[in-house]
């Protein structure tokens, strides 16, 4: 995360780290149920085999997992069948964990949005991850507040790259707060509000997907997979993989 800050342990209990062998942290992921997490499809390019991966939850410092962390193997990886590597479209995948997580203060799922629930342009939401901060890769989980940007406005930043309805943009024109390399698959969450103010319930609207080279001179918003678009697909896949007999 560029322009963010280190987060307090337990503040983002749905954030997880997708790790592979000696490489350690590769991508972020998001817990959505006791046995289910989401990440982006591009994290699995060339390594779609479940046994290569493990998911670490309840983690704040990558270097010191601590007593609150839980590690799970991966039973299966479901990459969206329409994932398009060139356009980075349909960039989403579902991770089925080997065993259920134990829900604690540090490990809790986030809500999926309803079928037609989208964050409003100019709403302020949060991104988190262990990705690049512009001068280093951090050990502590970083958080940053970003503003939701409409698709049409977002397209103007990415003249040469198509912004599809499967994408969501958030950030700032000056790129002051943005996700970066290593944040992929991590959450963009917004707190539910009513007229009286925040309600204390957080919903997952985006998964960090792509953008400009975040610490280069080219600035602009980050692009996230639009979770609302995929909610029916996610629910269907979880149901099929849990209950359906072959």
């Amino acid at each position: 995360i560029l322009g963010g800050r280190a987060s307090r342990p337990g503040r983002w209990p749905w954030q997880c780290s997708l790790q592979s062998g000696a490489s350690g942290h590769i991508c972020g992921c998001v817990l959505i149920g006791p046995k289910w997490a989401l990440t982006v499809a591009h994290c699995f390019e060339g390594r779609e085999s479940a046994e290569l991966w493990q998911v670490v939850l309840g983690l704040n410092n990558l270097d010191h997992p601590g007593a609150h962390s839980q590690t799970r193997g991966v039973r299966s990886i479901i990459v969206h069948p329409r994932y398009n590597r060139a356009v980075v479209d349909y960039d989403i995948s579902i991770i089925q964990l080997e065993t259920e997580v134990e829900e604690t203060e540090f490990v809790r799922p986030v809500c999926l949005p309803d079928l037609d629930q989208l964050p409003l342009p100019d709403a302020y939401c949060y991104i988190t991850g262990w990705g690049h901060t512009g001068n280093r890769m951090p050990f502590k989980l970083q958080e940053g507040e970003v503003r939701i940007i409409s698709l049409s406005h977002c397209q103007s930043y990415f003249d040469m790259k198509t912004i599809t309805s499967r994408m969501l943009c958030a950030g700032f024109e000056a790129g002051t707060v943005d996700s970066c390399m290593g944040d992929s698959g991590g959450p963009l969450v917004c707190e539910e509000q009513d007229a009286a103010g925040p309600l204390g319930r957080w919903t997952l609207f985006g998964l960090t997907s792509w953008g400009s080279v975040c610490f280069s001179k080219v600035l602009g918003p980050g692009v996230y997979s639009n979770v609302t678009h995929f909610t029916p697909w996610i629910q269907r896949q979880i149901y099929l993989h849990t209950y359906l007999l072959d």
């Binding site: 337990g10 356009v87 809500c111 957080w202 080279v213």
Partner: protein, 381 residues
């Protein structure tokens, strides 16, 4: 790698390793996937490139990958895009797996003609493209534009006049080509696309009847199959016999015969309703049990049951209802969905009561309360 072979994960085609050797320090030819450079007279590349990028993914999001296509529109140099691609996705020599550089003269022409254009908007010429690093033609193998090289990248539209404008500017209602050719022939068909009936949206032909709706009102996914009367249409337009629908087993290749089989319908309580053989059924309470209530809510993604009631049918209505009963071996079907644990029977429901379930949605999206702070240190503003 000088004394050792390349790491195994580099693959059999890897011939050269970078120094120092690491698990990823392998060079090999790979197909070009960078959209900007898909129309080059070569189709394989190797990394790192001449701009220091380590992969096509890195190139695709780089500053230069945005800069060069924008610069092409100015028409500053006919072969600018070709030159840019020799830097972004260098040609890979199939024998040595080494990159082949652009010739110095190509670099110099591009820089001479286009650097000043960039300067007008205050941008520098890309770093790392110093021309002296490239060989002069004749001294070594290097790349020069050949006849027939496309001046525009695949992300550009070529105006009749020969100028390149961004493909996103084509048919956008604004004149971008000097000869206005970007606003001619703007129908979907002329662009090799399919027009969604009832709207002006164009989609790729491969998206018609592929099981994913892309047009407004889903019109790209209608009239895609001709199923017989005893069949139902899968989401991907296969036809599957009605009796196989919602039986707990996958028959459509996309599993869609097992979607939306169970629902809770709000009719004087949340009536458990199951779709079977093309019709809606209610569930007889005769052999219902708490385990099945649990399964119902869990399968619907709604957490745990909060209220389960057996609702008596009103006289005069029950005769018209269709019933599903709990299968005698419902507990033998490990991990199966609710619909697999129910069956049709010849007789009606003895109790004449149907199952009604209310589920309590699972908690999500809540963070633990922040730890209390010691009051004396609190500073109000």
């Amino acid at each position: 790698c000088i004394s050792n072979p390349c790491p195994a994960q580099c693959g059999a085609n890897s011939t050269t390793c970078l120094s120092p050797p690491t698990n990823t320090s392998c060079t090999q030819c790979e197909p070009i996937t960078l959209e900007l450079c898909m129309n080059l007279p070569y189709n394989s590349t190797t990394y790192p490139n001449y701009l220091g990028h380590m992969s096509q993914r890195e190139s695709s999001v780089s500053w230069e990958a945005s800069l060069f296509p924008a610069l092409v529109q100015t028409g500053c140099y006919q072969y600018l895009m070709f030159y840019a691609c020799t830097l972004l996705v260098p040609k890979c020599d199939p024998v040595s797996a080494q990159r082949i550089p652009p010739c110095r003269s190509l670099c110099r022409k591009a820089k001479e003609r286009c650097e000043a254009v960039l300067g007008v908007v205050g941008l520098p010429w890309p770093e790392g493209s110093e021309c002296n690093q490239f060989p002069q033609e004749g001294n070594a193998t290097c790349l020069l534009p050949e006849d027939g090289i496309d001046e525009c990248s695949p992300s550009h539209f070529k105006c009749r006049s020969g100028r390149c404008v961004l493909a996103t500017k084509r048919c956008d209602g604004h004149l971008d080509c000097d000869d206005h050719s970007d606003e001619e022939n703007c129908g979907c068909a002329e662009r090799g696309l399919w027009e969604c009936p009832g709207s002006k949206v164009c989609i790729q032909i491969s998206m018609i009847c592929d099981g994913f709706p892309d047009c407004p009102l889903l019109v790209d996914e209608v009239n895609c199959s001709l199923c017989r009367d005893n069949e139902l249409e899968c989401n991907n337009h296969q036809c599957v016999h009605r009796t196989l629908w919602c039986d707990g087993y996958k028959h459509c290749s996309d599993s869609s015969d097992e979607w939306h089989c169970v629902s809770l319908v709000d009719v004087s309580g949340w009536a458990l309703t199951v779709f079977r053989t093309g019709s809606q059924y209610q569930v007889c309470a005769d052999e219902w049990n708490p385990h099945l209530s649990q399964l119902t809510c869990s399968q619907l993604g709604l957490g745990a049951p909060s209220t389960v009631t057996m609702v008596a049918e009103q006289p005069g209505v029950a005769g018209r209802r269709r019933w599903l009963h709990v299968h005698p071996e419902w507990d033998q079907k490990e991990g199966a969905a609710l619909q697999a644990r129910l069956e049709k029977r010849s007789h009606s429901c003895y109790s004449r009561k149907r199952v009604s379930v209310l589920c309590a949605k699972e908690d999500c999206g809540l963070r633990p309360a922040p730890p209390p702070r010691a009051a004396p240190h609190r500073r109000k503003r």
